[in-house]
């Protein structure tokens, strides 16, 4: 049962991501992306990372993608078939490149053969918090600075756009 759910979800995540390649309307693409994100959240949950599953839904699907949709709606983008299709130089090159990349990634990721684990034990949010505010404290501070910088940049740019 567990496996079936996992592979099903994974298939959904991948197929939804692939659908972004094909659809013409930005809203549809955004929705496919949301589906992919939600499926991925479920995968996280199944792998034993409940905190990240929740955060994935909250941050990606709940905040970022809403912003995306908001922007699409404000700009009132429509599906323009001719303009959104691949570049004139064609799709073969990039597709080939992506294929190579995928094969390479597979090779890379499987370079050190992993033994199968018996059980994916869930890691509690508490453990993540302890790691976050213990050894990774500097990174947390750096992330805070980064967010502040992004905030200021976004504010500044939006002001600039208004004037």
């Amino acid at each position: 049962m567990y496996e079936v759910i996992f592979y099903l979800t994974a298939a959904i995540a991948v197929l939804a991501a692939a659908a972004i390649l094909k659809v013409t309307h930005p809203v549809h693409a955004a929705l496919y992306l949301v589906i992919s994100l939600l499926a991925l959240a479920l995968i996280f949950f199944l792998l034993g990372a409940p905190l990240l599953a929740a955060l994935q839904v909250m941050i990606y699907a709940g905040a970022i993608m809403v912003l995306f949709l908001f922007l699409i709606m404000v700009m009132n983008l429509r599906s323009e078939r001719n303009q959104s299709l691949p570049l004139p130089s064609g799709w073969k090159g990039p597709a080939f490149l992506a294929l190579i990349l995928w094969l390479e990634l597979l090779l890379l990721l499987n370079r050190y053969p992993a033994e199968e684990t018996n059980e994916n034990t869930a890691i509690e949010p508490k453990a993540v918090g302890h790691a976050l505010f213990g050894p990774y404290l500097v990174l947390v501070e750096a992330a805070a600075v980064l967010l502040l910088a992004a905030l200021i940049a976004a504010l500044y740019l939006s002001r600039k756009g208004r004037s």
Binding site: G93, P94, L97, I100, L101, E104, L105, L108, L137, V138
Partner: protein, 645 residues
């Protein structure tokens, strides 16, 4: 006493924050007063530390705060005030205060005073942090703050594209040095896992052998940083253009304080340089070359402030020379006297320019008669001090000491010869300016009297330029040598040549100065007769360094693309078409089918090759995001496959 240390950089920093956050609520005048008060507080605290005996006691220490504690690494915000730092702090805060006072009048008309005083105070705070820092991380923070403020102040009147680009140029050029310094810091950290200066220096001396590769590399990287900030060859190109900023800024940043940051850095980390004798010698060599370079370029300038800028480059060269010869105390000595007379010169020049309707050209200034005698006399004092007029000026004593110390360094006589030539040139260029600008001037009734806040700094600095040198008399004189004795705890004593040589050296350089002044007089006569020195474009453009960098570094990529494009056009539309045509005609005429095919194919192949190259290269610049992304991913895939394979 050490509890008060934080106030030295803290007061200007706080004031900068207040100006930035609440400046809108204050009137312009109050902004200036607030900023000046902050500088005054910093200076008062420094005075207090003198009075409290910091000059004789152990170094003062204060640790304010630990930034982040990670593992066993605890970078702190901590200050150390030893004698080296004490000298620097006194100069920076003292000159800083004078320049704040001067700015009150100088900038009174400007609309953007809030920004000006914010950056001026921030700069002061950054410089003081740099000097007081007890670890390299904090030092680097001050270093970058100073760089940022310098950029902002050079481009202060950024609405004129020239000035804005001068700011950018300064920023980009010094960035090269900054990166080098950062790399040096990384290297030190990777070796010792700590950035505390005392710990680093002690451990480096203990662990590294003299001349070892690591020591050489570290010293080189630090030297790179110092060169960038101190505008030494080959990173000096930004300083002449930095004169686009307001005059007080030029005086503060580009004469008295910031450019000496490199000198301070080397003096602070001198044990590393002693571990790398080659690098230390190259410090001296760079210094010497820069002396001659700056002085000769200054000879041919028409812009009042540019003369002083090149002069600064050249004078900082003396400090580097002293550092390279191991005479750290003397480098510091020259730093102090230079701060006095160079800021005096800048402020005097600023006053002249200010009251002449922003006229920078010395020849035009010379035709005006309205220079007030006070400015004239103070400028004369500054010029004499800069030229090293014997016996009565501070510049004489500091420069003399360096030149004497140079003699005993490796390849000393050679270095000395260059430096002495520099002395001659210095006297020529500065008195040339003095004669051109002030010679014809009479004090007449229409002279606009400069307000007190502009004249007092001039007077104080003039006084200091005269008497500032009496703390250290040349070798062999019966008068006291307090300076180097006082700094003996920090640095070792300088090696001097035998007395008779020292005496003759002193005599020769004094003579050179006097000759230089005479030469300047002759030169000015010739110039007034129409033989302009400035026709020597090579000198006027600062040996053409800007053009050199333009050709060497900036142009090639453009040129390549242009070449290919031109070749393409030429080949396709011009010669090759005709050639092909002609060949075809020839071939058909001769009816030699084989050659026909070969020739045609080879030429067509060549053509296609050029066309292909052009298309590929211009495709890298086509501005298409997708294409760039494709390139990046191709690179990634390629690297990955290389690595996997």
């Amino acid at each position: 006493m050490s509890q008060l240390l934080w106030l030295i950089p803290g007061a200007p920093m706080l004031s900068a924050l207040i100006i930035a956050l609440l400046g809108g609520l204050l009137q312009r005048r109050h902004l200036a007063i607030l900023a000046t008060c902050a500088a005054a507080i910093a200076f008062l605290v420094v005075l207090l530390t003198w009075l409290a005996g910091a000059a004789t006691s152990q170094p003062l220490q204060q640790t304010l705060y630990t930034w982040i504690a990670v593992g066993n690494w605890n970078p702190t915000i901590g200050f150390t005030l030893d004698r080296l730092a004490l000298v620097m702090v006194s100069v920076v805060s003292g000159i800083g205060l004078l320049i704040h006072i001067y700015s009150i009048t100088f900038m009174a008309e400007d609309n953007d005073q809030r920004r000006y005083y914010f950056f001026l105070n921030l700069f002061l705070a950054g410089m003081l942090i740099l000097v007081l820092a007890d670890n390299l991380l904090l030092l680097y923070l001050g270093w970058e703050l100073v760089g940022l403020c310098s950029f902002a102040l050079i481009g202060f009147w950024y609405r004129e594209p020239m000035r804005a680009s001068a700011g950018r140029k300064a920023f980009v050029t010094t960035r090269i040095g900054d990166m080098s310094l950062a790399l040096g810091i990384f290297l030190l950290y990777s070796q010792f896992n700590d950035l505390s200066l005392s710990y680093l220096l002690a451990n480096a001396t203990a662990q590294w052998e003299t001349g070892s590769q690591l020591a050489t590399l570290t010293a080189l990287l630090i030297l790179g940083g110092a060169i960038g900030k101190s505008a030494q060859l080959p990173l000096q190109v930004w300083l002449p253009d930095a004169m686009a900023g307001p005059s007080p800024v030029s005086a503060l940043i580009h004469a008295a304080t910031m450019v000496t940051a490199g000198v301070y850095l080397i003096a602070r980390t001198y044990p590393l340089f002693e571990l790398a004798p080659h690098v230390q010698w190259s410090v001296a060599a760079i210094g010497t070359l820069t002396i001659v370079y700056g002085a000769s370029a200054a000879l041919a300038q028409n812009d009042f402030k540019r003369v002083l800028a090149y002069s600064t480059i050249s004078q900082v060269g003396y400090m580097f020379l002293a550092l390279g010869c191991g005479a750290y105390a003397l480098a510091l000595f020259h730093l102090v006297t230079h701060a006095f007379f160079k800021s005096l010169l800048f402020l005097a020049a600023g006053t002249v320019i200010h009251f002449s309707g922003n006229e920078h050209n010395i020849h035009n200034l010379g035709r005006l008669d309205n220079h007030s005698p006070l400015v004239r006399w103070t400028f004369l004092i500054g010029a004499a001090s800069l030229a090293g007029f014997p016996l009565i000026t501070a510049g004489f004593y500091s420069k003399e000491a360096i030149l004497t110390a140079t003699w005993s360094a490796p390849a000393g006589p050679l270095l000395w010869a260059f430096a002495a030539f520099g002395v001659l040139l210095t006297a020529v260029y500065i008195f040339r300016v003095y004669f051109i600008v002030f010679q014809g001037s009479r004090s007449n009734a229409s002279t606009p009297s400069a307000p007190g806040s502009m004249t007092w700094p001039l007077l104080i600095l003039a006084l200091l330029s005269l008497i500032g040198g009496f703390v250290e008399f040349p070798v062999g004189w019966l008068a006291p040598h307090q300076w180097s004795v006082w700094l003996e705890d920090e640095f070792r004593l300088t090696v001097h040549p035998p007395l008779e040589i020292a005496y003759s050296l002193q005599f020769i350089t004094s003579l050179l100065t006097l000759i230089g002044i005479g030469l300047a007089l002759v030169l000015v006569r010739r110039e007034q007769a129409g033989h302009y020195l400035t026709k020597i474009i090579f000198l006027r453009t600062g040996w053409g360094f800007d053009a050199l960098y333009q050709t060497m570094l900036i142009q090639p990529y453009f040129s390549l693309a242009r070449l290919l494009k031109a070749t393409d056009a030429l080949l396709i539309e011009g010669i090759l078409h005709k050639m092909t045509h002609a060949c075809l005609l020839l071939a058909s005429a001769c009816r030699r089918g084989v050659e026909h095919g070969v020739l045609d194919k080879s030429i067509a192949g060549l053509l296609a090759g050029f066309r292909f190259g052009y298309a590929r290269l211009s495709a890298t610049q086509n501005g298409l995001l997708s294409r760039y992304a494709l390139m990046i991913s191709m690179g990634a895939v390629f690297l990955l496959s290389y690595w996997l394979w």
